[in-house]
């Protein structure tokens, strides 16, 4: 199949496409599933991170 006689290499070739497809489906299915909120803690963390980056 596809000019690749070794089933393990064929599995890798098709597996790459399959796992990428699964990732796409995962992202689409879960696109709004998780909570999307920025807490005070998240913001405090980001302000500190920004300070370090700005100074560097």
């Amino acid at each position: 199949m596809l000019g690749i006689p070794d089933p393990m290499v064929l599995a890798a070739f098709l597996g790459c496409i399959a796992v990428a497809a699964i990732s796409v489906i995962y992202g689409l299915v879960r696109r709004n599933a998780a909570v999307d909120e920025v807490t005070r803690e998240d913001r405090a963390w980001a302000i500190e991170e920004k300070k370090v980056e700005d100074e560097l």
Binding site: A12, C16, S23, G27, A34, D36, E41, W45, K50, E53
Partner: protein, 607 residues
Amino acid sequence: MNANLTWIDSIVILGYLLTTGYLGWLGYRGTRTAADFLVGGRSAHPVVMAVSYGATFISTAAIVGFGGVAGMFGMSLLWLTFVNILVGILLAFAVLGEPTRRLGHHLGAHTFPELLGARYQSKGVQVFAGALIFLFMPLYSAAVMTGGTVFVVAQFGVDFEVALLLFALITAAYVIPGGLKAVMYTDTFQGLIMILAMVYLLWFTYSSLGGVTPAHQYLTDMADLVPPTLKAMGHQGWTAMPVFGWGAPGYDLWWTVITAIILGVGIGVLAQPQLVVRFMTVRSRRELDRAVPIGAVFILLMVGTPYLVGSLSNAWFAQHGALLKGQVVKEIDTAKGHALVGLMKESSPGRWEPIINPKTSKPTVAPMVVAGREAAQDAAGLPLELVSGRSPAVVYAKGEPDQIIPVFITTALPRWFGLVFFLCLLAAAMSTLSSQFHTIGTAVGRDLYERLTGKPGREPSVLVMRIAIVIGLLMSVTISYNVREEYVIARFTAIFFGLCAATFLPAYIGGLFWRRATRAGALASMTVGLSVSLSWLLLIKAKEASAIGLVQWVTGGKTSLLADYPNWPVVDPIVIALPLALLTLVLVSVLTRPADTRHLNLCFPKT
């Protein structure tokens, strides 16, 4: 510099650098980094987030280094692409991303060593991790630099030393003043260049070989042209897995491909400090979920393409490569015209002499698809049958796997694409190098200097970070300059990824998911992971051990302590060190006192 670099090339390169600089400047004026998005309470577009992550993940090491390894070992390397997507994207984003983000924010950690140190309430853990990053990350940076440099050498015809110096200067100009800020739009611009280059490269390669199935079939039919040295290691052709087994040299290739390349790099990505911190800059779980599709497709293109193209370059050279001449040493398949040929060059008109391999000082012998035969004379005037034909890619790359992708691009593709590919490599290198040097800088400034002196002050710490970045850059250039042996790009990358996996992974995963993991367990696990890995590299793994030289001194000339036991000298340390480190974490944690409940509740709040 060199006639190969035309004024059009110079203008295009300058245009690329100016565009990158302009995007960076635009970024400085407004929202630029992931932290800025978070401070502003806004969300980075999932494409920006995913491509920026992917551009950091993928470097010249993957494209040139591992692409070249695929040119030598074949399509079995596609398992690494599979693992990169499954583990490096799906598992990392869906399973590790959110717990890392939450833990980092709960504990106020901003670097990977700080995350581990805060989780385990241990200065020792943080200093240990910071020191490892400072000492060994330059190895990975060197791999990235060499990957870019060898392409510049092939494309523009300059000397390696000049190309490396240029690459180092561009890197310094990029990372020291501003690239460190990981401006997300700059990363994304670079990621888009990488995507365009890979899509064209993949299309060109398949179409020049007659389509997907004919290309694979031709490569399959070339299995008998595998060079004898690779065949002896278990190479069965570029569309076949190496021979699997244990206890004979004929299984070496399987253990090299599976343990060092697929497991070492595939698993090691989970514990890459510069990638782990990216999860902490993400706004929410939802943003992580949304980045998965783009990230997966990006990695599929970025690593799948070079591995396929590297393998298929053998078919391309066998069909379209420059004609080589020589004398048949052994017929392999007369019906197909496959033969083992001693390569020759014309010493004087009508007279032919063998080409001597500078490494072995013996005549160069190469597998060949014979296209024609003619009568000729050798140097002494004796008659001989001169054959002409084409060989697999590694012959045109003069036996250097790191040269396969550069030689294929410069030979097979139009010249304008060589320039685009150079920009792609520059983009891949810069996006990775900037985060590597950022990680080196923060590891020294924040994790070593501040922790060891006990003076968390901004000014001296920032100065120390800058000095560390310059030292890291010099270390990388020195390594690149001095070490250019066979597939060194992939090997350095695999060593660093393997070291990170064995040292950090059990403590990192345990810290995220296991309340019972203790400080002593983490320190012991990291010590075992690192010491077993280093001992293995120094004394057992033949390629690395023989290059370092200690093992010859200990054993009186052998390249491995286990040189008399086939396959052991090619097994990667990750196979031994990672399970031992994991076992150590579990055993020591169970036997030592758990962290206090208040701290654990901070790490793992109920809501």
